[in-house]
């Protein structure tokens, strides 16, 4: 009895001593997690590569990932959205300005606040690779550029029709898995990403990530080599299939995720097992440095900013006053301006034809004259010239 009481008291004292020690451990692990991911900003490149009305589901796939990514915090300025055809305002769409992902029109993934950066004929293999590697012409606007740096986590999502080792763009050209791997290597050499998550939803999608060789890449695909990715369900009012199976279940999974969620990549690998998807989704993590179990979903799909709170005051500079314009002293003469005549008939009829700038004659004319002169001098000879002239 005494011994039992003594043990209880001893255990209680031990507990009291270990609590502060345990608490400091907890703080340290929390601080460690705070600084573990190493990225400071998030980017997303979402591409739909198919054209024509019956490929509605590919546009719906891309827009549902766009919606999730925007909902979790990545702003439009950090998303490059490429849609190869317009489904929302297509004349065949019975509900204009909408793209639905669930049948019976439950969820409109197009929304009211969408910004598409590349659309229609602009979605080509060349433009896609230029966006990834940053080799764009100097007049390209900012919204069409991927301005990532070496602390950016990038999410790349591709969907469309594909095969063993290639992905078809707009029914007229293809990108091969080797080209994609080389593009990622160029991005790594130029320090354009910290970590990259690549998701692809096409037939035989796993073939597209087979050739990757750059570090810090994680890849997911909707089907293995030799398997087809299937579409989910048609809507009878719209008349086409609305989504692909893999992205449908991915969207359902992402709808549960919120910006403070602790879900990690292992949960993402479990999305859409074979019983739901018919095809076998695959993933590749051997090039990735961290353990997938410690990588949060919001590291790639969200834009969680690490905020440091400070208690110091900061002084802002006073705003610059524009100088008061003084227009001279004394009386000045100001001309009153008038509007231009919209259709000055008399002026137009008597318009002189505008002077064309004189250009020196180009190659053909020069060659012709040289030939004529050569023949002339050959026939008549130089020494006869003084008799002629």
């Amino acid at each position: 009895m005494d011994y039992y009481n003594l043990m209880r008291i001893f255990a209680f004292i031990h507990l009291l001593v270990s609590i502060p020690h345990g608490y400091s451990n907890y703080v340290e692990t929390k601080a460690g997690q705070f600084f573990s991911s190493g990225h400071t900003n998030n980017w997303a490149v979402l591409v739909c590569t198919s054209r024509f009305w019956f490929n509605y589901r590919h546009v719906a796939n891309t827009l549902s990932v766009y919606r999730s990514v925007k909902r979790l915090g990545i702003p439009d300025s950090h998303i490059v959205l490429m849609l190869a055809d317009d489904m929302a305002c297509n004349y065949r769409n019975p509900k204009p300005a909408t793209v639905f992902s669930h049948k019976n029109m439950e969820l409109n993934v197009y929304g009211d606040d969408v910004e598409v950066d590349y659309r229609g004929y602009e979605v080509t293999v060349e433009n896609f690779l230029r966006v990834l590697t940053g080799r764009l012409p100097p007049s390209t606007p900012r919204s069409k550029r991927l301005l990532s740096d070496d602390r950016s986590n990038i999410l790349i999502y591709l969907t469309g029709h594909g095969g063993n080792g290639f992905l078809k763009f707009q029914d007229s050209e293809e990108i091969s898995n080797m080209e994609l791997a080389d593009a990622f290597e160029q991005m790594w050499q130029k320090r354009r990403y910290n970590e990259l998550l690549f998701i692809i939803d096409t037939c035989q999608g796993a073939s597209m990530y087979e050739r990757f060789y750059s570090p810090n890449l994680m890849a997911l695909a909707s089907s293995q080599v030799g398997e087809d990715s299937l579409s989910h369900q048609p809507d009878l009012a719209i008349g086409v299939h609305l989504m692909d199976k893999y992205t449908f279940y991915l969207l359902e999974f992402l709808e549960e995720v919120h910006p403070a969620s602790q879900a990690n990549m292992n949960d993402l690998f479990k999305v859409c097992p074979q019983s739901q998807c018919v095809s076998t989704p695959g993933h590749r993590t051997d090039l990735f440095q961290r353990d997938p179990g410690s990588v949060l979903i919001t590291d790639f799909f969200g834009s969680v900013r690490k905020v440091e709170i400070t208690k110091d005051t900061i002084n802002l500079t006073s705003p610059v006053e524009p100088p008061i314009q003084r227009s001279g002293s004394g009386d000045i003469q100001i001309e009153s301006l008038t509007y231009v005549d919209q259709l000055p008939v008399a002026e137009i009829i008597h318009q002189k034809p505008k002077q064309k700038d004189w250009h020196p004659p180009d190659g053909f004319i020069l060659g012709l004259w040289t030939l004529i002169l050569l023949v002339f001098f050959q026939t008549y000879g130089i020494k006869h010239l003084k008799h002629i002239f």
Binding site: R51, F52, D86, A88, C89, K95, P96, A97, T98, Y110, G111, D112, D113, V114, E115, V116, D117, R119, G120, Y121, E122, S139, T140, P141, R142, S143, K144, Q170, D171, S172, V320, P322, P323, I324, Q325, R326, S327, G328, S329, G330, D331, I332, Q333, I334, E335, S336, L337, T338, Y339, V340, D341, Q342, L343, P344, V345, I348, I349, Q351, P353, K354
Partner: protein, 561 residues
């Protein structure tokens, strides 16, 4: 330009002031449809292009993205429009602000610009980023420099057409992604004022939708001694009474836009709704405020609702308009035009442009501008202009032929239209075969030819007012009126969809397979014929025979064959 000089006392100017006005005009059309036209105007007394002046850095109501574009590229006037659908002039009358299907951009640069083409190229790229449109497809192959059309709509002292560029993209799609950045340019965004009505699900479910941005310098006051910059954002939409109205000529704001108005934009100095009641529709809530305006040669009466006054919203703090009408007489449009392609086959064709002058006794001149892509090779010697089955010689023709893959055809003609007549302009063309990399991914859809533009001064039945006052409603003060007896109108024809001879794109693959097969079979057989020799080779006998021979050898009897 004709200048008058005024002597005034110099004074110190206060910092530049800006103001914002918004208005909505609702006009029932005689076919049962309803036409809603939003106009948002920002006026700013400043000068982006003045040299030796500190750069403008503080933007209040004027959007900063557009202001920076104007000063960087020295733009004097900018007009850009995105349209989905075609304006049916015969059924709907004339629009307040006309626009062709697709995207249209025309710009007057300042006369100090030295490289207009370079500025134009960069400007189209920047605008494609601002409006999320593929305006970067505008290049030298679809840009023209009109010589007489598209005079500046604002103040201008130089009309040297070297500084004008015009381009149109008939294939451009307009959808929510173009409306979103357009709404973000407004001072109140889409959160207050008339812009809360702009929901894309209703706006794009319509027969006609057009959004535009017009920037130009205008007179600041009556004496017109200094310039102010005007930014007009317009949105015209026509709702079809069969698809949205369920067949009844009964409309309400809620039915059209699925929203009602709750307040005016706090930054607006005036916020009004005008409803056209010339044909006496039933209107509720009724209002005592009426206004008459002469617009497009017609005097019309409008009911005015002022949203800056709290009593407009009534007890429910929400404003919903109900409109029901019975009469259907419409002023027949005096000028309208059609265009179509005639002919058969994929080699030649003929473009017909038909212009109707419906005025009973007045003839007036029109300026027709056609810009045809280079792959339709026009035969200008077949150009004919006929009115009332007689030849009608234009008083001015400007034709710039196309250069393959460099520039398109430009044809401008000033034609006098006889009264109450139909004028037909025909020209034959031949279709070119493009290089196989120049085809779009869906070449069997066809190739678009942009709309023709017809600019005219149409004689007006009613005297137009030439006073410029700030209090005029926005929809009647877009085009500056110089004389009372006529008004300026621009009519756009349909764009054309032309099929070009399209190759079979699987042919290169077929040719490679066929050639390799032929080479393999032909060369292979020939090579074998020349170099193959035959040798007799005894096959090794089967195992049973070999065993039998072995036993026979041991026994010493003759072997088998």
């Amino acid at each position: 330009m004709h200048c008058k000089s005024l002597w005034i006392k110099a004074s110190a100017k206060s910092p530049a002031k800006d103001q914002f006005q918004e208005e909505l005009v609702i006009r029932p059309l005689h076919s049962g449809d309803i036409y809603a036209s939003f106009q948002f105007r920002t006026l700013w007394d400043t000068d982006f292009l003045q040299e030796g002046q500190k750069k403008v850095s503080h933007y209040r109501l004027f959007p900063k993205s557009l202001g920076q574009v104007l000063s960087k590229f020295s733009v004097q006037e900018l007009h850009i429009s995105f349209t989905q659908g075609f304006w049916r002039t015969m059924q709907w009358g004339q629009p307040f602000i006309p626009s062709p299907p697709g995207a249209e951009l025309w710009v007057w640069f300042h006369h100090t610009v030295s490289d207009v083409d370079g500025n134009w190229k960069e400007l189209t790229n920047v605008l494609s980023g601002i409006f999320c449109a593929s305006l970067n497809f505008i290049d030298m192959t679809n840009t023209v420099q009109p010589s007489a059309s598209f005079k500046p709509l604002g103040l201008g002292n130089a009309t040297d057409h070297r500084f004008l560029r015009y381009a149109t993209l008939p294939r451009e799609i307009v959808c929510t992604e173009n409306l979103t950045p357009w709404k973000k340019l407004l001072p109140c965004g889409s959160k207050a004022g008339l812009a809360v009505l702009m929901k894309s699900e209703k706006l794009f479910h319509s027969s006609f939708h057009s959004q535009a941005v017009h920037i130009r310098p205008i007179c600041q006051d009556e004496q017109c001694t200094s310039k102010a910059w005007e930014l007009r954002q317009t949105l015209n939409v026509v709702f079809d009474h069969y698809t949205s109205g369920q067949g009844k000529k009964e409309w309400s704001l809620f039915k059209m836009f699925s929203r009602t108005l709750t307040e005016a934009c706090p930054l607006a100095s005036s916020s009004k709704v005008y409803v056209d009641i010339t044909d006496n529709p039933e209107l509720s809530p009724a209002t005592p405020l009426l206004s008459q305006a002469v617009v497009l040669g017609d005097r019309r009466t409008y009911s005015v609702y002022d949203l800056t006054r709290a009593e407009t919203f009534g007890q429910l703090r929400s404003f919903n308009l109900l409109l029901r009408w019975k009469g259907d007489n419409m002023l027949r449009p005096l000028l309208h035009a059609e265009r179509y392609v005639a002919g058969f086959g994929l080699q030649t064709g003929e473009i017909h442009t038909v212009i109707y002058n419906n005025h009973p006794y007045r003839a007036f001149p029109v300026l027709l501008m056609d810009s045809v892509p280079w792959y339709l090779q026009l035969y200008i010697h077949t150009l004919t202009v006929t009115s009332k089955s007689r030849d009608n010689k234009p008083s001015y023709i400007h034709y710039q032929p196309a250069k393959d893959r460099h520039r398109p055809h430009l044809l401008e003609m000033l034609i006098q239209l006889p009264p109450h007549s139909m004028t037909e302009v025909t020209v034959q063309f031949e279709r070119a075969l493009l290089k196989w990399t120049e085809y779009t991914p869906d070449p069997n859809h066809g190739f678009y030819v942009g709309s023709s533009v017809i600019s005219a001064l149409v004689p007006s039945m009613v005297a137009m007012s030439t006073n410029f006052t700030q209090d005029q409603p926005l929809f009647s003060s877009f085009v500056p009126v110089k004389e009372e007896s006529s008004y300026f109108v621009r009519v756009y024809t349909e764009p054309l969809l032309v099929n070009l001879p399209t190759p079979d794109f699987s042919m290169p693959y077929n040719v490679i397979c066929l050639t390799c097969t032929v080479v393999a079979v032909g060369y292979g057989s020939f090579y074998n014929l020349l170099t193959r020799t035959f040798q007799v080779d005894e096959p090794s006998p089967p195992l049973a025979k070999r065993l039998a021979n072995f036993i026979r050898r041991i026994r010493g009897v003759p072997l088998l064959a």
